[in-house]
């Protein structure tokens, strides 16, 4: 397979995953806005989580709900807006058209066509839930087409690696921006504000139901942190993503008969979510742990790009 093709598959999946994550973040923000008295700075934290706050501030300065939602969903100046990343995903899919099935291509193309229509104009608040659901549904269609029609070969592995690098990064960012509400602080424990924040974290990874199923009704910061970092059953946790990265890189290793530096880095990334538990992490510094994880995930991504010759 061409190095460029591997890169195209990797980025196609990353961008689709990113569109889905952006939709979840907007939904979590909207939920807080509706259930709490004005928390405009919640939107700032959401922009930070999506790593698109700087561009926003440059363009608009002041953070308002309406502008933040528009920036996250459809602004062409925001390279991470849903419309930008879906267009990028489609460009990459066109580039790797020979490596994906007709079903996958059509699912990506249809996602682009549908969202281009739905996001042609600023989304009125009353339509927001439906549009956000549409974004996730379209990404799910692509995932379904990939799962159901693609050979389990290197093309599939690179697409999966892109998905899990992006997802690990996204979950880690959510934790990075919100880590302070997960710390056992004497002042705020159990306050209403914290409860909202905790629920928002779960919502931004679509895990309210899964959390309840695992831990019952009480939302507690220690359990949330454990769930999002260490629980290997939770498909958006750091441990789950790191595990999948190790698996998919191992398939490539077996398929190609070649071991690269990225294999070692993935093992180490996985190790840091397996070697300790939530109490240790909170004690030694949750923030530092997340920062360390983000750095490792970034270096792993870069190493994969170079090991498999995505670029010249």
């Amino acid at each position: 397979m061409l190095g460029k093709t591997a890169g195209g598959l990797y980025w196609m999946s990353r961008y689709l995953e990113r569109s889905e994550n952006a939709s979840r973040l907007v939904e979590a923000g909207q939920r807080i806005a509706l259930t709490r008295s004005a928390h405009e700075d919640e939107w700032l934290s959401i922009l930070q989580t999506a790593a698109c706050d700087e561009g926003y501030i440059q363009k608009y300065g002041e953070v308002t709900r309406e502008l933040a939602v528009d920036w996250m969903l459809r602004d062409p100046d925001n390279p991470s807006s849903v419309m930008s990343v879906v267009s990028q995903a489609r460009q990459n899919a066109r580039m790797v058209r020979t490596a994906i099935t007709r079903e996958v291509w059509e699912a990506v193309n249809q996602a682009w066509m549908t969202l281009k229509g739905a996001l042609a104009r600023r989304v009125p608040e009353r339509d927001l839930p439906a549009v956000l659901a549409l974004v996730r549904q379209r990404a799910a269609f692509v995932r379904g087409a990939m799962h159901g029609t693609m050979l389990r070969n290197d093309a599939y592995d690179f697409a999966r690696i892109g998905t899990f690098i992006e997802r690990a990064d996204s979950t880690a960012r959510i934790l990075d921006v919100k880590y302070y509400v997960l710390l056992p602080s004497a002042l705020a424990v159990g306050s209403n504000l914290d409860n909202v924040q905790w629920e928002s974290i779960l919502r931004s990874v679509s895990a309210e139901g899964a959390y309840r199923m695992t831990y019952g009704q009480d939302v507690r910061p220690r359990e949330i942190a454990h769930f999002l970092i260490f629980d290997t059953r939770m498909p958006r946790s750091l441990a789950f993503c790191a595990g999948k990265l190790v698996d998919n890189l191992a398939y490539l290793e077996k398929d190609y008969g070649e071991t690269h530096r990225s294999h070692g880095l993935a093992g180490e990334l996985c190790g840091c979510t397996a070697g300790s538990n939530v109490d240790q992490v909170v004690e030694t510094g949750l923030h530092e742990f997340i920062q360390d994880f983000l750095g490792r995930a970034f270096r792993l991504g870069a190493q994969i790009e170079s090991d498999y010759r995505f670029h010249e």
């Binding site: 061409l2 190095g3 460009q91 066109r94 058209r97 020979t98 059509e106 193309n109």
Partner: protein, 486 residues
Amino acid sequence: MNNPSGYDEMWGTAQTQSMGDMAQSQAFTRPPYQNLDTWIQGEDPARLKKKQREAEEIFRLTGITFNVYGRAEADERLIPFDIIPRIISGREWSKLSRGIEQRVRAINAFLHDIYHRQEIIRAGRLPIEMVAQNAAFLPQMIGVTPPGGVYTHIVGVDLVRTGDDDFYVLEDNARTPSGVSYMLENRETMLQMFPELFSQNRVQPVSTYPKNLHRSLCASAPAGADSNPVVAVLTPGIYNSAYYEHAFLADKMGVELVEGHDLRVVDGRVCMRTTRGYKAIDVLYRRVDDDFLDPLNFRPDSTLGIPGIFDVFRSGGITIANAPGTGVADDKAIYSYMPDIVEFYTGEKAILQNVPTWRCGEPDALAYVLDNLADIVVKEVHGSGGYGMLIGPTASKKEIAAFRDKLLAKPENYIAQPTLSLSTVPILTKAGLAPRHVDLRPYVLVSPEGVTITPGGLTRVALKKGSLVVNSSQGGGTKDTWVLEE
């Protein structure tokens, strides 16, 4: 519904059309179309119109779009598709295909000669200026014989029809002819929408094209390649207007689709960068123009090409399909010599007719053309896509006067032809079936093993009433083209 101005492939000539006096209904339908006619009569017109819209949806979803140069992704356009097929009988096709094969063999022999001994010039059958002053002549190709001796592996021969037995070659495309993906997708779409039509009519399949293309390219591999040569398709990239087709062909052949920056010359071979290192390519089906192929040998500012690929080619290390320099065989001035060229290299009269052509560089011809500008068509020798031409009968006095000045300034840059009364085939319009002018581009594959012609080709149709311009860039559409079993 009649087409008094000429020949309709479904309803025949003006005479046969007027034989029946049942207004609107066709008293006469040419035999290849009779099954189709019966089917159309039995169809609900509303259902047909719905199918027409459905076809468009299918094309959009599949992504069969072409990009408009220099624009953003919002400008991906669909080429309009008309659901009424164009039908050619098996007998008509066998004659055409014999003529096409003869012509394509002559073109390859001509290219070999032009880049070697130039016998045709020595024999006085072709003036030396036709080659020496031809912008498409590549001096770098002098003395170079491509692997297997084939210069142009993929050829499109554009044909028009004016009567039951009258076919003319309008032009040859010996560089990088495009449109074959439309031929294939048009058929796929028709099969999906109207399976019953294919049970009622015995239509020769076109779906073998990608397999034949792959086989033909493999057979043209350099002598050193193993029995399973590595083939790749070279595209200028996703912004190119024909990108869809490049990806489509690579996909259907099961080969890599590469861009210049995926390739480099390593140890005297052209190699592609894979996830496991550099891998040598034996045959490159390039959809990049000569000029851009190799910045070291041709245009130095090209970012689409591969530095040094031409040197590898010259030393026999790779097959480039089509070979560089084939354009010298298909410009409009050389076209006018094609009957001589065919005869010179095959020893036979050309089976397919040329449209009579005046070379404006010749004083007598120029005088005639200037006197008759209002009745004829004048084209630029190197023009394409229907641009830069004058269609006398439909042009205004002002346009003719302006063109006269251009012609006088550089007469050798132009050729002129009589206005042909192109045949029509009905299309589905809001008001029912209506005749529109068409042409036909069959696709021809050439390898050392022989010539393969896919039955049919791409029918382009001028959607505007009375228009003779079928180019997709100027409001043309396409149709599925059927060749019936004999």
